[in-house]
């Protein structure tokens, strides 16, 4: 975050610009910043992805472990989110300073992913009522320049696409106790279907118009923003309002329509890109931060 302080004159300038559909860096109101996505950057995990959206950098690592399923839904696995706002982003996150923001972000992620349609949780079940796969999704915030949710959701989708869960063989031994064996073959693994994983679009209301992908500067000019999670079919799975200001119902409706439109357009190129990266296979040189 590197603490942004915006003067009143700058705020007025930004608001006038948005009114005329031209933002500080030349984008339109519905344009995203330059985005770079790479998967499989951390080899200790079962799936990972790194996303840089302008100056915002997010790294997601997914680890799959075997655990007991939730008592209410014995035939499904589940996801656990943990957002770590590291001190890299701003010195204010040192020690326990980043915990508040991290907890807020992970709670929002729980809400977004909390329905049966985003991810097929049944496929994570091993033995109903006894064993299931628990996916620990760890989000690491490296640099923060606004629009954290969008970048996080894209990174989570890419990481889930990249996740390889080893296949499980259940064998019975003599006394009737069941043993679970994980296959050692790195290619014998299960992939997740991320078609329905939603992407989050955050819309900030600046003046009378709303913008997609606000930088920190623009965020300081807005009083309220709306968080919409959209699947590739255009279905809205979760809507949340953030910020202290108020939104009238008309603008909420408008913003939702914009969000649906933008979100739908986001999925197709993302899936294409992920498929292309996957097809490069082993010849792909892993760049990570070394670009």
């Amino acid at each position: 975050m590197a603490t942004i302080q915006v003067s009143e004159a700058e705020k007025v300038y930004i608001m006038h610009g948005v009114r005329d559909d031209s933002r500080v860096d030349g984008r339109g109101c519905e344009d995203y910043r330059h985005m770079e996505i790479e998967t499989d950057v951390v080899s200790n995990t079962d799936g990972s992805a790194k996303v840089s959206l302008g100056q915002t950098d997010i790294l997601v690592g997914i680890k799959a472990e075997i655990g007991r399923p939730r008592p209410m839904v014995p035939d499904e696995g589940y996801l656990e989110f943990f957002v770590d706002c590291s001190a890299n982003a701003t010195p204010e996150f040192e020690g326990r300073g980043g915990e508040e923001l991290g907890v807020e972000l992970s709670n929002n992620l729980y809400k977004v992913f909390n329905n049966r349609h985003s991810l097929d949780l049944r496929s994570l079940c091993i033995r109903p009522g006894e064993n299931c796969w628990v996916l620990y999704v760890d989000v690491l915030l490296l640099q923060c320049d606004g629009n954290l949710f969008d970048a996080m959701s894209i990174a989570i989708k890419a990481a889930l696409f990249n996740t390889r869960i080893p296949n499980v063989h259940i064998s019975e031994d003599e006394e009737g106790g069941k043993e679970i064996e994980l296959s050692d073959d790195p290619y014998d693994c299960m992939r997740l279907n991320v078609e329905n994983v939603p992407c989050i679009v955050t819309l900030c209301k600046i003046g009378h118009r709303h913008v997609v992908d606000a930088t920190l500067q623009e965020k300081s000019c807005s009083v309220a923003s709306l968080l919409i999670s959209v699947t590739h079919k255009g279905t809205v799975t979760c809507v949340r309002k953030l910020g202290g200001g108020s939104l009238d119902p008309d603008s909420i409706f408008e913003m939702t329509e914009t969000g649906k439109r933008v979100g739908k357009m986001l999925h197709v190129p993302l899936m294409e890109l992920l498929q292309k990266e996957e097809n490069l296979g082993r010849e792909r040189t892993k760049v990570g931060f070394l670009a």
Partner: protein, 245 residues
């Protein structure tokens, strides 16, 4: 130490290196635009990210500021997915606090703090993937980040680990070699004057083997300093080309 043979008869280690060979080293400076200085370092499979903010005014309590020097504040944390078993807390446990203290001491010795009285320099290091030599990767990455931030230092601070197996010193240990039960010596060195900023060793070693072990670590650090120097010069060239045009 049963099972895994850390040094084969032909002199090859677990990952095929010779006894005194270092792991593949790749580094990049200026990774993040928002911080004053940043660097990313890969030492084999260990990946470390260092970010420097400062020198700036002392945050928090004013009583921490020193009238004649800058205060160096370090935090070491590991990403939860960095180790084979998932870590629950990225920082705040005793081991991370100890590492942060060691980093602080190492850089207090190397940075010319007298030039910035009453200010604070923050160094934040994050381990993205841990495969042995965490402390050394952190120190090397932090050195590059300090150079990127333009903070004057006495010399590069290079760190490396060394171990001892069957009378042969090994340089730059990976995780399997560290946890195999043998000795691990971590050394942070200023290569030109050969002065040691921090020395740390665990596990038993006979006193007579200590000179050989320290010599191996010193040689490894010197080799590392050459690589770091190359990275810095290359980065400077790139930056000057960009700014010239």
């Amino acid at each position: 130490m049963a099972g895994l043979e850390l040094l084969s008869d032909q002199g090859y280690r677990l990952d095929g290196r010779k006894a005194t060979e270092l792991r593949k080293l790749q580094a990049r400076m200026g990774v993040f635009g928002q911080a004053d200085g940043s660097a990313y370092m890969e030492q084999g499979n260990t990946k470390a990210l260092a970010v420097v903010y400062g020198p700036h005014e002392v945050r928090g309590s004013r009583s921490k500021s020193l009238h004649d020097r800058a205060v160096i504040n370090c935090q070491y944390s590991m990403a939860t997915f960095s180790t084979a078993e998932r870590k629950r807390r990225p920082h705040g446990d005793r081991k991370s606090s100890e590492m942060s203290l060691h980093l602080k001491q190492t850089f207090e010795a190397a940075v010319l703090t007298q030039l910035y009285p009453r200010s604070q320099i923050d160094i934040y290091v994050k381990i993205l993937q841990s495969d042995g030599g965490n402390y050394s990767a952190c120190v090397n990455a932090a050195t590059l980040a300090l150079v990127d931030a333009g903070i004057p230092m006495r010399d590069y601070v290079c760190a490396c680990t060394a171990g001892f197996v069957e009378d042969t010193p090994l340089a730059d240990l990976c995780h399997a070699e560290e946890s195999g039960g043998g000795t691990t010596l971590s050394l942070a060195l200023l290569p030109r004057s050969e002065s040691i900023a921090l020395v740390q060793m665990d596990a038993r070693l006979h006193q007579d083997h200590l000179p050989a072990l320290m010599e191996a670590a010193t040689v490894a650090c010197k080799g590392l300093s050459k690589v770091l120097d190359d990275v810095v010069r290359q980065h400077l060239q790139e930056v000057s080309v960009q700014t010239r045009e």
